[in-house]
């Protein structure tokens, strides 16, 4: 079972939403580094599949779920003065 440990200074929805997208980007980079190793035969196919199944996928699923959660909170946050009139052609 994987879980996300947020730093003590990452408390607000905004901060955590941004934090999660950074984690997702870091995870993507790690994934692609593993993919490069696989293509270069530096790791075996079995090691590549094992990484995807037991490392990448659980972390990716968790990050996606957390992103959805904080995005929903941000969408419903009315503390700011967002207005469609602020969208300009």
């Amino acid at each position: 079972m994987v879980s996300i440990k947020y730093p003590v200074d990452v408390k607000s929805n905004n901060d955590r939403y941004a934090y999660l997208y950074r984690l997702q980007e870091l995870l993507k980079l790690e994934h692609n580094e593993k993919g490069t190793q696989f293509r270069n035969a530096e790791i075996t196919k079995e090691q590549w599949k094992e990484y995807q199944l037991n490392d990448f996928d659980p972390k990716s699923d968790l990050i996606s779920t957390e992103i959805c959660k904080y995005r929903k909170s941000l969408k419903e946050d009315t503390k700011n003065s967002a207005s469609l009139s602020n969208i300009q052609e």
């Binding site: 997702q24 692609n32 993919g35 293509r39 990716s60 996606s64 779920t65 992103i67 959805c68 929903k72």
Partner: protein
């Protein structure tokens, strides 16, 4: 995993923009307002959680739109899904310089997108896990280079239809060109087992199969008599039969002698021949236990039944039986003639008429005495006491004295079980019997 065959899918192509091959749909100038789609109904609630693979390459340079993956309960174009608030889709907005690769849930209107490039192949892994829908976008078919992950919160509604191409069905002129390829639903073909094997199951091999081969006389076989023979033994077979249903642990040898042990529970189907050298070992169970009080038999032949009248007869052992000849039924009133020699015991007649022959069957019992004369009983024996008198005396509890034992007599015999039986009107049923038991030797 197997790729989906798009040629088996339902196709609607209002402007003739689609070319459907087995694993590829080619889109040529599909207008946004066209009503075009390719989909398949997989059955109600078929799509819950899943992981689907598909790829696209958008080649057109004009603005346009196409759904390249979607699930719904019938709606297949963006316009229909949006109107019905039904289903989920991954689709591409084509702009002048780039494309937007999106995922959306039409029920809650959540969506996410990635800005990609035209004339570029993208490979997707679209997953739903509960209420999270992700679309991982890769730049290679091996899906080792992750470009972006699109994520939305989705409903957990299950759907029946899979959509591999769908027009916007809204707006106007802008068109889309490109290909949609290689949809893999990654669904294992399932087989419903009728039973689950358990680790604790024992496996039984039934070795008791019938022999399909016929035994031949030349076969060197050992017969286990506990198994039914499917072949029929022939008179010419050289076989030793052990009729006991037990395993033969010894191997028969040519030098063995053969004996038949006859058990009554087994039928011998072969016919014994006079030339057979056989030893029969009769196995008889004793059903009774001999007692000290039992009369013994010395195995000597039983005494013959002596017919009367006879010139001579021999008394065997201590008793014998005499069968008197059947008298003739001479009178129509079922009486017996006194003249029948049967009743002439030398000294007088035995009158049976007075004993109520008409009340047949009649049995005279009791014990009477006669003197046995010398060897020729029929000529010399003397009936000293009338049978009728003896019977009367016995009934009175009197004592009899035998007075005439002497030189002419060699013993006293007791007549036991002196009976005659008749059945009225049936002459052949009239019989006399008595037994003589030597009680006094003279």
């Amino acid at each position: 995993m197997a790729l989906e065959d798009f040629t088996t899918y339902d196709e609607v192509d209002s402007d003739g923009d689609l070319t459907v091959a087995e694993n590829t749909i080619t889109i040529v100038t599909m207008r946004q307002d066209a009503v075009s789609w390719v989909s398949e109904d997989k059955g109600a609630n078929h799509f819950g959680d899943f992981e689907h693979l598909i790829d696209t390459k958008i080649t057109g340079i004009t603005n346009g739109f196409t759904i390249y993956w979607g699930i719904s309960d019938g709606a297949a174009t963006y316009g229909d899904m949006d109107t019905a608030n039904e289903g989920m889709a991954a689709y591409i907005n084509v702009y002048a310089t780039d494309i937007k690769i999106r995922i959306a849930d039409f029920t809650n209107s959540n969506n996410d997108f990635y800005t990609g490039a035209k004339d570029t192949a993208y490979y997707y892994k679209i997953e739903r896990n509960g209420t999270t829908l992700t679309n991982k976008i890769y730049s290679d078919s091996a899906r080792t280079v992750l470009v972006d992950t699109l994520t939305i919160t989705c409903t957990n509604t299950t759907y029946s239809d899979i959509i591999v191409c769908g027009s916007l069905d809204l707006g106007a002129a802008p068109t889309c060109d490109g290909t949609i390829n290689d949809l893999d639903l990654q669904e294992e073909e399932t087989h419903d087992p009728t039973d689950d094997a358990n680790a604790s199951d024992s496996v039984t091999f039934n070795a008791g199969k019938n022999l399909t081969d016929d035994a031949n006389a030349s076969d060197a076989n050992t017969f286990n008599a506990g198994v039914h023979l499917a072949d029929t033994a022939k008179a010419g077979d050289s076989v030793g039969y052990n009729a006991q249903p037990a395993t033969i642990e010894d191997t028969a040898k040519a030098s063995d002698s053969i004996s038949f042990q006859m058990c009554h529970a087994h039928l011998v189907e072969d016919t014994a021949k006079a030339s057979d050298a056989l030893t029969f070992e009769a196995e008889i169970n004793l059903a009774d236990i001999a007692k000290a009080s039992d009369l013994y038999s010395d195995n000597s032949p039983p005494p013959p039944v002596v017919e009367y009248p006879c010139p001579t007869f021999t008394l065997y052992g201590t008793s014998t039986n005499i069968l008197f000849p059947k008298p003739e039924w001479a009178n129509p009133n079922n009486s017996i003639s006194k003249n029948v020699s049967l009743f002439n015991f030398k000294s007088g007649d035995l009158d049976t008429v007075d004993r109520g022959i008409n009340a047949q069957p009649l049995t005279i019992g009791g014990t009477v005495f006669i003197y046995d004369g010398v060897a020729n009983w029929c000529d010399n024996a003397t009936m000293t006491i009338w049978l009728d008198s003896i019977k009367t005396a016995m009934n009175n509890g009197e004592t009899f004295t035998i007075n005439e034992l002497g030189d002419c007599l060699n013993g006293v015999y007791v007549i036991g079980n002196f009976t005659f039986n008749t059945i009225k009107g049936v002459p052949d049923a009239f019989t006399w019997t008595l037994s003589l038991e030597r009680v006094i030797d003279v």
